[in-house]
């Protein structure tokens, strides 16, 4: 395996970081959702990731994919709402392309790309619809470029997280065309999409877990 490859321990650390950061930002995410949705996004993810934490405890994953699959099925069966199936499918698809003990820079790109594909397959949203796709899509593009340029897996994740943050910020000015916020029409402008915001938190957790390695 190449330099700095991300293994099962990284995946475990990622999950722990993600659970912590979601818990920390629970109220903030729900508040974003309250403004243009129904105010439960933080609650939904917090419920999901605390179940993930419990599920990880006894698990003995052999591959990165094993971890991601456990996250996928747990989110799918505990989050509900739109975010449950969307993140669930994202993690499920990502798990499929990471059925290996460790992933290199290209592997990180594939992981993110598969996740994005999963979100789009379920939600049918395009860039600009003011959804989590607006964070995932630039993240995947940045990951692709970083991997091409020979960055380390950690650097690829960092690039993805930073691009996601820019993408999430771009949702502020958009009119929502998918999800609950779309019912607000023009009134959705001026607010950040909560799913895009949580995507940034997750990718940042992934990047931090990689740097801590």
């Amino acid at each position: 395996m190449s330099e700095g490859a991300l293994d099962v321990d990284w995946a475990r650390r990622f999950v722990a970081e993600a659970a912590a950061v979601v818990a920390e930002h629970r109220v903030e995410l729900s508040e974003l959702d309250r403004l243009i949705g129904d105010g439960d996004h933080g609650e939904n993810l917090a419920r999901g990731f605390s179940a993930v934490t419990a599920a990880m405890e006894p698990a003995e994953p052999a591959t990165v994919g094993d971890v991601l699959k456990l996250v996928a099925t747990t989110l799918m069966s505990t989050v509900g709402g739109a975010a449950g199936p969307l993140y669930g499918t994202a993690f499920l698809r990502a798990a499929k392309v990471t059925a290996v003990p460790a992933v290199d820079a290209q592997g990180v790109h594939s992981l993110l790309d598969a996740a994005l594909e999963g979100v789009v397959a379920r939600g049918k949203a395009q860039v600009g619809d003011k959804t989590m796709v607006d964070a995932w899509h630039p993240a995947v593009e940045a990951a692709s470029a970083a991997a091409e340029a020979g960055s380390s897996p950690a650097q690829v994740l960092r690039a993805a997280a930073e691009a996601a943050a820019v993408g999430a910020a771009s949702t502020d000015d958009l009119v929502a065309l998918k999800g609950r916020a779309s019912y607000l029409g023009e009134r959705s402008v001026g607010h950040r999409d909560p799913g895009a915001a949580s995507t940034v938190l997750l990718l940042d957790a992934a990047a931090r877990a990689a740097t801590d390695a």
Binding site: D38, G39, G179, Y183
Partner: protein
């Protein structure tokens, strides 16, 4: 926020528990958060399953019983349930003739029921799905997630339930459900927001002289905010788009449903009904059936929605058919 609750996290489970305890003749609770008809699935009858976020009570558990739903799946507050309990409900509702999923058109509900249907299919349970989308407030569905499902859902559940009870097969029950959905439109208003227990503050802020027109049923803000007006004026704002979208013509027969959002006195619903009915009659529309009350709510929100369903003889007969649930009951 003052609520008759113990723990914000436990509201849904405790409420379902209380509901089931209060209606032992009608419902029973499965292992998961699933409320099923007492006595189990009816052999040879198409099963009906509905569900969605909690907070809309009596929807859906209040409509489980003879002539309506076989099982209901209450999710977390305003949050679609996950696939697992939906599958459990589908299993409980299956009497060998397949199961109809009645799903309100929200991304979360659609996706979770979709997954559940796939899982049920893997268990060889035939599932058909009707997506209810009666809310005309969502004007241009090309630029949105599509029209939402709101109070019309209760009419889909009632009428499809009667079709299943009379012995229609899955395709037949689905067709009836789709016909109801095609002929039903709704629009709602909020005079106040509601407060989700775990959020602890109102879902939106309204000034003392403002109301939200075109609200959904999850405490979302509506399409626009207007100054407070009289009940008759507000009723016009709700009814007109409904009538227009339905393309109702003079001489047509309808069911008129005035639905309370949870915190509105019954007398106010009657006042809204009175004007809506008169307006319809002025337009030559015949109001054959009426329903006035809290059926699809948003916790303690003050407000109401107006729903019109185009009736024909068959739909009327199915609507009139006996039903015995906690929230809708006649003929039994």
């Amino acid at each position: 926020m003052k609520k008759l609750i113990n723990d914000p996290e436990a509201v849904t489970t405790e409420a379902v528990e209380g509901f089931v305890l209060a209606h032992p003749d009608l419902v029973t609770q499965l292992d998961q958060l699933v409320v099923a008809r007492v006595g189990g699935a009816v052999r040879g009858k198409v099963g009906l399953v509905s569900g969605g976020g909690s907070g809309h009570e009596p929807l859906h558990a209040g409509f489980v019983g003879v002539g309506m739903l076989d099982a209901a799946v209450p999710g977390a507050m305003f949050t679609s349930p996950t696939p697992d309990p939906i599958v459990a409900a589908t299993r409980a509702a299956d009497g060998g003739a397949g199961v109809l999923h009645i799903v309100k058109n929200y991304t979360g509900d659609v996706l979770n029921f979709e997954t559940a249907a796939e899982l049920a299919d893997a268990e060889d349970i035939e599932v058909a799905t009707v997506i209810v989308n009666d809310d005309v407030a969502v004007e241009d569905s090309l630029y949105t997630a599509g029209r939402r499902g709101v109070a019309g859902t209760v009419l889909v559940e009632k009428i499809a339930g009667a079709a299943a009870e009379r012995g229609d097969d899955l395709a037949g029950v689905l067709a009836i459900a789709q016909r109801v959905n095609a002929g039903v439109r709704s629009m709602g208003v909020a005079l106040s927001a509601c407060t989700v227990p775990h959020a602890g503050k109102p879902s939106f802020e309204l000034a003392e002289n403002e109301i939200e027109i075109g609200i959904g049923i999850h405490g979302e803000p509506g399409r626009r905010r207007i100054p407070m007006a009289s009940a008759d004026e507000i009723t016009d704002l709700l009814l007109d788009p409904v009538v227009e979208d339905l393309g109702l013509a003079s001489g047509e027969h309808v069911l008129l449903l005035v639905n309370g959002m949870g915190g509105t006195p019954a007398s106010e619903l009657s006042i809204v009904y009175r004007h809506a009915r008169r307006r319809l009659e002025e337009q030559g529309v015949v109001v054959d059936r009426s329903l006035v009350g809290n059926y699809v709510t948003s916790l303690e929100m003050q407000g109401a929605s107006v729903t019109v369903l185009r009736l024909d003889d068959e739909l009327t007969a199915l609507y009139d058919a006996p039903v015995s649930t906690a929230a809708l009951r006649w003929g039994l």
